[in-house]
């Protein structure tokens, strides 16, 4: 009861602060509240995560541009990292976009196997699903029945869950087949199991063990790409998306056993295709600070165009490219409400 009232009191102070930009005049200063207020005041100046990431990639771009070329103008508008909240609320830097048929049935699978929450569904005129979003944990999966331009393409997704054994069991009940049950012997050190659903998607179901989440925290949903010549994907993503390889395990010959790549505030994983984990060219949705620039860099890096940058009716600057491995990337910048 007392705790609840503290929550209310703190919220009143915060509310006042956000509206007036000034600390609230204290009538009878409560010590507990006063010390929380000091923390809250500092939080008002908390830098935007998007800004920190965008400025970093601006600087990286500048470093890579100035290699070989002469001076780059200082402080000009072209390196503007600020003022763009470039990710659509509810989505992170990278989200798997799974196109399978029938999408409606796939959504039911996500709900029953992973406790997914459908938060949006846009039907096409013919009754199929043009676009849907299903939240899983703190991430999301985008779903569609697809069309000629964007055909069916199942993918592989690594999910972090609280109870991998229970989740694994639910996937089997929902019609998936097992690669292997959750085990503690997976090279990642996580408790890790793997299944294939009836739509052809792979699900790697894991619980982290002794894994330290990065500054962005643990992401529930991470696309997983099995690639031929996976090592070449890392520079592609670095160049095009300002990605950062945050953990790369290679064999002495340079074969990528596993790599985690960060784009914005989210991660994806890649490895060299092996055994039953063969390439599955898929669709990925990335949010970047500047779609046009990322699209241009993708073209320079050898990708082919699916869609030139345009203002999409749902309020994103959007483009589409296909990489050398056949994956398509929906590149987007959220333009705000």
């Amino acid at each position: 009861m007392a705790k609840r009232s503290l929550a209310l009191q703190l919220n009143e102070v915060v509310q006042w602060m956000l509206v007036s930009l000034r600390p609230r005049p204290e009538e009878s200063p409560d010590r507990e509240l006063a010390s929380l207020t000091r923390v809250a005041q500092v939080l008002r100046e908390l830098p935007r995560e998007e800004f920190r990431v965008a400025l970093k990639s601006d600087l990286q771009r500048r470093v890579s541009m100035s290699e070989g070329t002469a001076a780059v103008p200082v402080g000009t508008g072209e390196t503007k990292a600020s003022a763009v909240h470039y990710q659509r609320p509810g989505l992170t830097g990278i989200t798997p976009y799974i196109i399978v048929r029938p999408a409606a049935q796939f959504i039911e699978f996500l709900k029953s196997a992973f406790e997914g929450v459908e938060r949006m569904r846009m039907p096409a005129p013919d009754g199929s699903i043009m676009h849907a979003e299903v939240a899983i944990g703190n991430g999301a999966i985008e779903v569609s029945d697809g069309n000629e331009q964007y055909p069916t393409a199942p993918g592989a997704v690594h999910l972090y869950v609280d109870d991998p054994d229970a989740t694994y069991a639910r996937t089997l009940q929902a019609g998936a087949t097992s690669f292997y049950a959750p085990t503690d012997d997976h090279p990642s050190g996580d408790r890790w199991g793997a299944v294939k659903d009836s739509f052809g998607n792979h699900w790697y179901i894991a619980k982290p063990r002794g894994w330290t989440p990065g500054p962005e925290g643990l992401r529930s949903v991470q696309p997983y790409l099995h690639l031929r010549e996976a090592h070449k994907m890392i520079p592609f993503m670095e160049t095009v998306f300002g990605a950062e390889a945050i953990g790369v395990h290679k064999s002495p010959e340079g074969i990528v056993h596993h790599a985690t790549i960060r784009i914005g505030n989210a991660t994806l994983e890649i490895d060299e295709a092996h055994a039953e984990f063969q390439p599955m060219p898929c669709h990925l949705h990335v949010y970047v600070p500047d779609t046009d620039a990322a699209y241009a860099r993708a073209m320079d890096a050898g990708a082919t165009s699916i869609d030139a940058p345009r203002n999409a009716p749902y309020g994103d600057r959007a483009a589409g490219v296909k990489d050398a491995w056949g994956n398509s990337w929906f590149i987007a910048t959220y333009l705000g409400q």
Partner: protein, 204 residues
Amino acid sequence: MATRRPVRKGSAKDVGEGVRLGTEQSAGERGLVEAAQSDPAKFEVLYKLHFERVYAFVASRVRERSTAEDVTSEVFHKALASLPSYEWRGVPFVAWLLRIAANAIINHAKRAAREFPAPDDPPDRAVAPELQASEMRAIEYRAQLFRLVGRLPEVQKQVVYERFVEQRSIREIAQRLGKTEGAVKQLQLRAVQNLRAQMEGGHG
């Protein structure tokens, strides 16, 4: 429109004189700076190390978020460009960054003043404010708090960003996160309590 805010004036003393940082700073730092001088790609390490400090310093002097971002961006671009001419003099690298920041803030204020002239225009010479140890401690405190937000449990972190950065109402956050308003207020409290506990722990 830029915020008009008087820039604190101080003596032209070296910023570094008032700065006393932890021992972790000086030891490996020279090596990091020299590595970045020979390979600009390594500047990223310095950026990661000092982003929060520079932002905290700037944000404490320019209240408007967009201005704070512009100035912070300018500081790191300028630092990257000037790095080849930087000479290690035993002063923490952050002092050099904050000196660039102080000048950038003054220039920003002057640009704003040109657009909206006022009788109390700042003086024409670029004066770096003297950074007292107490102010440096305040910057360290804020920078550390900013870093700790990143390590909060995911949902608490989300509430902090939605509330303090996006400045959304409790109701809006509740809708977006699919929680009750009471739950969001509790999460806000828990996040702030967590941060306070860790800051106190960190300071012994």
